[in-house]
């Protein structure tokens, strides 16, 4: 399924060769096979340099957001939690807004594109503040304080962001489109940028799948079963945040993936994190690559923000699944 969707993702797009020529070209590249696919060098470059990185990036980000969402839901034992819970979104949003407000003119001469960097550090700063606040005021082990601190930090950062936007009306449109999330400008550079973070974060999270199952009985009982609950929560939150911040840095805020994918997996395969985490990785990749296809052809030649697509198709699908599941009980 992953393979099929990825190939479809590479095949379909507004510019470049007709879709059926691509498998032919791929076959042609195999040794001892020679088929004339009729694809020109320019067209092939469109496929390899524009579409392929975009698909790979969508798969990475979809996996990361789903995995982070599932992990957050596990450590906070709250099914409504999404990867942006502890303020990553607001922090990254503020970071990006500041860069836009400074103006691309002043930053275009820089060696590297500062936007992902600012978004990444903004996200980490926000979550770090949340964690400091949450543990400073919350003397008990309750995770509620942490979540509430996340809400406070989110409001604060959003307020600052709104203030900055008010002062710089001209960039509202850019910021808005960034917030809705996009994969349109994906390059192999973006893939290289996020890959290490996502691999590390993914590895750490996946290795905690048994412990997340133990934590389903609550902090007290998990502790009585010999689990260092605070340490596990800290490690999982740090790993999930790092991955999420990296994803947000290159793609903006793609909503809904982190909630809908883990829940779909739970409805289909049960609630054990041993299954939920790895399956979320796969389904997350499939979901985002698939959602990206209508996003680029729907209002051709313009792009429909992918966040709009994920919510527009994801929400009804999720409701249908929920309904059929309830009906079968």
């Amino acid at each position: 399924m992953v393979v099929v969707v990825i190939i479809a993702g590479v095949m379909i797009g507004p510019a470049g060769p007709e879709w059926w020529r691509i498998p032919l070209e791929l076959l042609d590249r195999l040794p001892f096979v020679s088929i004339d696919s009729g694809i020109s060098k320019i067209d092939w470059n469109i496929v390899m340099q524009i579409r392929a990185p975009r698909v790979v990036l969508a798969a990475l980000i979809g996996s990361m957001l789903s995995l982070a969402g599932a992990s957050y839901q596990g450590v906070f034992r709250n099914p409504l939690v999404d990867p942006y819970l502890l303020g990553v979104a607001a922090g990254s949003g503020l970071g990006a807004t500041l860069i836009f407000a400074l103006g691309n003119a002043s930053t275009s001469t820089w060696m590297i594109n500062p936007l992902p960097l600012a978004a990444f550090s903004g996200g980490l700063i926000a979550v770090f503040s949340t964690y400091m606040l949450g543990t400073a005021f919350g003397k008990n082990r309750s995770s509620t304080t942490l979540v509430l601190a996340g809400i406070a930090v989110t409001s604060l950062f959003t307020a600052i962001q709104t203030f900055v936007l008010q002062r710089n009306n001209d960039v509202v449109r850019q910021v808005y489109s960034w917030i809705l999330g996009r994969l349109s400008s994906a390059t192999w550079g973006d893939v290289r940028l996020v890959l290490p973070y996502i691999v590390i974060s993914g590895g750490v999270l996946l290795s905690h799948r048994r412990l997340l199952d133990v934590m389903r009985v609550g902090d007290d009982e998990a502790l009585a079963l010999g689990i260092n609950v605070r340490r596990v929560r800290l490690i999982v939150v740090v790993a999930a945040t790092m991955g999420t911040a990296a994803a947000v840095a290159v793609s903006g805020l793609i909503g809904f993936v982190g909630i809908i994918v883990p829940h779909t997996v739970r409805l289909l395969a049960g609630a054990s994190y041993r299954l939920v985490l790895p399956l979320s990785v796969l389904l997350g990749a499939v979901f985002l690559v698939a959602a990206d296809i209508p996003s680029r052809v729907l209002s051709n030649p313009a792009e429909t923000p992918i966040g709009v697509i994920t919510a527009f198709f994801g929400a009804p699908f999720f409701l249908i699944l929920l309904r059929s599941r309830e009906a079968s009980r």
Binding site: R210, R216, V217, G218, D220, A224
Partner: protein
């Protein structure tokens, strides 16, 4: 053979003392029952022994003080059955009991075949084998209680802490659960500390009762020594008759103030 001892155990919540200087030593295989009115500190003693609340003083297993830092070491020696356990309704019975093996599994690894053997034996012993694949949400209250005890047994810890193990059960299931614990104690030599509200049942099963009031021990001994109507009136504020059966059972009967 394992003993558990408390030395000058004190617990405070927000500066208020919930337990003040609790001392006790249980001999191996003993069943101690903590009784006392709500808020007397019974649960706090159990929660401290399970490592769930910070305390001063010490708790020792076989004269070895429990290191404050190692939740894992503690869980290998003390199993805790909470008053109202969190039941993830969509978890399977097998997976739930398997959680009891957590203290033996290192951070990144998974259950060994030995762990699975232990769980299989426990399910067999507690007559839960036929439920193996059922999800927790489909079980009755009595079955869930047995399951929580099963998870504690899978911990293979020599000391069992039971916080109000029967408060949610009807009289038949209360007896069943306590008989089960008592049988296991005789079979496997567990040392047990329970907190209980039903004084008659407490006296029936425990070797020794400790009556607590506002964080202090105020009486201790056998059911006959502790369960006296003056004592109960003083600390529970209850007007009750205490009846002694021929076989030594002590029955506590609350009295109605006026009868038409």
């Amino acid at each position: 053979m394992t003993t558990i001892g408390f030395c000058d155990l004190s617990i405070s919540y927000d500066g208020k003392k919930a337990v003040d200087g609790f001392n006790d030593i249980l001999f191996s295989g003993e069943w101690l029952c903590l009784i006392g009115p709500n808020g007397a500190g019974k649960s706090s003693v159990l929660r401290a022994a399970a490592g769930l609340v910070p305390y001063s003083g010490s708790v020792a297993i076989d004269q070895t003080e429990i290191p404050n830092t190692s939740a894992r070491w503690r869980a290998q020696h003390i199993a805790y059955v909470p008053q109202s356990p969190v039941i993830p309704t969509d978890m399977s019975v097998y997976d739930y009991v398997l959680l009891g093996r957590s203290p033996y599994i290192s951070y990144f690894s998974t259950e060994s075949s030995h762990d699975r053997d232990v769980v299989g034996r426990v399910l067999e012993r507690l007559d839960l084998s036929r439920f193996t694949d059922r999800s927790l949400g489909t079980l009755s209250g009595g079955e869930v209680q047995r399951l929580v005890i099963a998870r504690a047994l899978a911990q293979e810890a020599p000391v069992l802490l039971l916080d109000e193990p029967t408060s949610a059960l009807d009289i038949g299931h209360q007896q069943q659960a306590l008989e089960l614990v008592d049988g296991l104690r005789r079979e496997q030599g567990f040392t047990i500390i329970s907190a209980m509200h039903d004084l008659t049942l407490a006296g029936l099963y425990a070797d020794r009762l400790v009556l607590m009031h506002e964080g202090h021990r105020v009486a201790e001994g056998t059911a006959k020594q502790v369960l006296k109507s003056e004592t109960l009136a003083e600390f529970y504020g209850v007007s009750a008759r205490v009846h002694h059966e021929a076989d030594g059972t002590v029955v506590v009967i609350p009295q109605r103030s006026s009868r038409l």
